[in-house]
């Protein structure tokens, strides 16, 4: 995976943003902690210094100067683990005891703890302590001598350094974590996007049967994949339809075209009687009309399959439409010695194209009348069945053999037994296309004898 791409993913950008925000929060938090800790340490030091001054003053008062000096000396040689420095000056400013080399200039002996700058030259050379602001406290003893206790900041500094170090470590770890998370997340997203891209590339190269594999996590990527797969399904179906149309046109339109062409060619081979020309032209006109009808039907099917409609989709008064068509065909059926019964429930409406629905129903009626024998009985029914509109057209004609029932919906498919009757084999293809477009479940049922075409409006 390319690092440049990774850094352009939404996930890694989000991760970086969050890492920054997180770092800021941690810094502020630790800063507050540091500030509070320092204050606490300072306060502790101040209390310690005061107590120490108190203790030494007490020794001086109870046991006398000698003992005080001893105590200071003892502290001085104890290794100064708590890194305290002492100074006892006589009234004349003479140093009597203590590790500190001299009195810090300007420091007042008023028992108040203050931070005072200590130069290096006040600290004995063998001590590791360095210059800095040291908290210190001093008092004037009963004899006028001045006693000072100071705390080397080394200890406090150590603590501060430790806290700062910890803060830096925590910060580094949290930013690292945020970045790692972002990277992992970005990689996961990229892997799945890459999978989708790979399929899309294959599809655009012509392999239309490829589909995106779902991860099974049922997340937004699966959702996207599902929709893309549905889209691909539709595209493949449309393309297959188009391919089929092209094949069909090649097969079924070439023949009549060849017929027309041959007839004209042969007629033009020599001079003929005017009556002959008229006859040929009339035949040609009939053929071209037939070609036109086939062509129109093919286009209509393609249009219905593509579902490309703008204006003509709306609420259709299905009951009205069926009655109108039914009555139109009723007379036609009677004239052919067949009987068409109508049982149309009133008030049925559907969403769709009136034009296409009318065309489809009329194709079914055409077929029923065409294929039932004399005295055939045909019934067109429409009713509301558990919230679904069901339209059925049943006849007592020869029916369709079970193994042919799916095939009859394909373009140009005609049953062997119907070759002698006129027709282009497109009627049921259009019915199927219109049914699919209107989300109608189309079923062919055997009545032994007879055929029932059932249309169930699913929405």
């Amino acid at each position: 995976m390319n690092l440049h791409r990774l850094f352009h993913t939404t996930a890694i950008r989000l991760a970086l943003r969050y890492a920054l925000l997180y770092a800021l929060l941690v810094t502020v938090g630790l800063g507050v902690l540091y500030w509070a800790t320092s204050r606490y340490v300072d306060a502790q030091l101040a209390v310690g210094l005061k107590q120490e001054l108190e203790r030494l003053t007490e020794i001086d008062r109870r046991s006398g100067r000698k003992h005080l000096i001893d105590a200071i000396q003892a502290e001085r040689y104890s290794g100064s683990e708590n890194r305290r420095f002492y100074l006892l000056l006589g009234t004349d400013g003479q140093k009597l005891a203590g590790g500190l080399l001299d009195w810090p200039p300007g420091f007042v002996a008023d028992k108040q703890v203050r931070n005072v700058w200590i130069e290096d030259d006040l600290i004995p050379l063998r001590m590791p302590d360095k210059d800095g602001y040291w908290p210190m406290v001093a008092t004037r003893l009963s004899g006028g001598e001045r006693l000072l206790v100071a705390q080397s900041v080394r200890q406090a500094e150590d603590l501060q350094e430790f806290i700062l170090g910890t803060m830096a470590a925590i910060l580094a770890v949290s930013i690292g974590l945020a970045l790692t998370m972002g990277w992992l997340l970005g990689r996961e997203l990229l892997l799945r996007i890459d999978a989708i891209n790979a399929i899309a590339r294959q599809v655009s190269q012509g392999n239309l049967s490829r589909r995106i594999t779902l991860s099974g996590q049922d997340d937004e990527f699966d959702e996207l994949a599902k929709h893309l797969n549905m889209m691909l399904e539709r595209i493949e179906k449309l393309l297959m339809g188009m391919r089929q149309v092209t094949d069909n046109i090649a097969h079924d339109l070439r023949r009549p075209l060849a017929r027309v062409r041959n007839r004209i060619e042969v007629t033009l081979m020599e001079a003929r009687e005017p009556g002959e020309y008229r006859r040929v032209l009339r035949e040609t006109l009939t053929d071209s009309n037939e070609l036109m009808a086939t062509f129109t039907a093919l286009l209509e099917i393609a249009q219905a399959e593509a579902g490309s409609f703008r204006g003509q989709w709306g609420t259709v008064d299905l009951s009205g439409l069926l009655v109108e068509l039914g009555e139109l065909y009723q007379d036609d059926a009677e004239a052919r010695h067949k009987h068409l019964e109508l049982q149309i429930e009133s008030g049925l409406t559907v969403q769709g194209s009136r034009h296409l629905l009318a065309q489809a129903i009329s194709n079914l009626l055409d077929n029923a009348i065409k294929y039932t024998g004399d005295d055939g009985v045909i019934a067109l029914k429409a009713l509301m069945n558990t919230n679904r509109i069901v339209v059925s057209l049943c006849d007592n004609g020869p029916g369709i053999p079970a193994d042919q029932r799916q095939k009859v919906f394909e373009r140009f498919v005609r049953l062997e037994s119907d070759r002698s009757t006129p027709g282009n084999g497109l009627g049921l293809s259009l019915v199927k296309a219109v049914a699919d477009l209107h989300k109608v479940h189309l079923e062919l049922k055997d009545l032994h004898p007879g055929l029932c075409v059932e249309l169930q409006f699913m929405s």
Binding site: S288, N289, M292, A293, T296, L299, Q303, F309, R310, G311, Q312, E324, E327, L328, Y329, D331, D332, E334, A335, S353, H355, A358, Q359, S362, D366
Partner: protein, 225 residues
């Protein structure tokens, strides 16, 4: 009648011009949208035949310009675009009829005739009359030579349309569109059956038949023939 034909397909236009002229009409011809619009605005025509897709200016825009100019000359739109939506677009632009290519010449002729003649109106008492056939549009009553004829509602509408266009040839598709509001081609026999039923009611038993079949074209309700 005077017809302006605006069509860019020259060979199609030639035959159309010839056919219309042989049918007794005077035809002016324009091969592109600009010329067509110019002729339509300056000349006086009974009807315009306008192809939808033309060079320089498309057919629908010509119609819009004419209508904006308060020119009410009926227009028949010819188009290779045959979907229902295209038809709706054509009529919405101000066209009066729409014919999809390829069409039968007789269909075009019949429709032009219907557009120009517009159909006759009922008389003051709400009657349509053709010879001795009388249709009372208010009471929905049909009387021929004093004999009352009972018709179904659809038959009444069919008869009304035929009577309004008496003397004109009406094609099957025109009947389907106007009387049934269907824009598709059912088997021709469906309309033929309706016509024979109507004929049985209005012509049977009378010495003169009024409802004639014009072979290969359609029907005509006529008192003269």
């Amino acid at each position: 009648m005077r017809i302006l034909l605006i069509e860019d397909d020259q060979s199609a236009a030639k035959y159309l011009e010839k056919g219309l002229a042989e049918s007794g009409h005077i035809v002016d011809y324009a091969a592109d949208g600009e010329d067509g619009l110019h002729l339509a605005l300056t000349g006086k025509y009974d009807v315009l035949v306008v192809d939808r897709m033309l060079p320089k200016r498309d057919g629908l825009s010509i119609i819009r310009m004419l209508r904006a100019d308060k020119n009410k000359t009926p227009v028949l739109v010819l188009s290779a675009l045959g979907e229902v939506d295209d038809r709706v677009d054509g009529l919405r632009a101000g066209g009066d009829d729409y014919l999809v290519k390829p069409y039968a010449f007789v269909e075009l002729l019949a429709r032009l005739d219907a557009l120009v003649r517009r159909g006759r109106e009922r008389d003051d008492s709400g009657h349509l009359r053709v010879a001795d056939l009388e249709l009372d549009l208010v009471k929905h009553k049909v009387v021929r030579a004093g004999r009352v004829i009972h018709l179904q509602p659809k038959e009444l509408r069919l008869l009304e349309y035929l009577m309004r266009h008496a003397g004109q040839v009406i094609t099957r598709t025109m009947l389907l569109e106007q009387v049934w509001d269907f824009q598709f081609d059912p088997r021709t026999s469906v309309i033929d059956t309706q016509i024979s039923r109507l004929r049985a009611k209005i012509d049977k038993g009378f010495s003169r038949s009024l409802l004639h079949t014009i072979r290969g074209v359609g029907y005509k309700l006529d008192e003269s023939a």
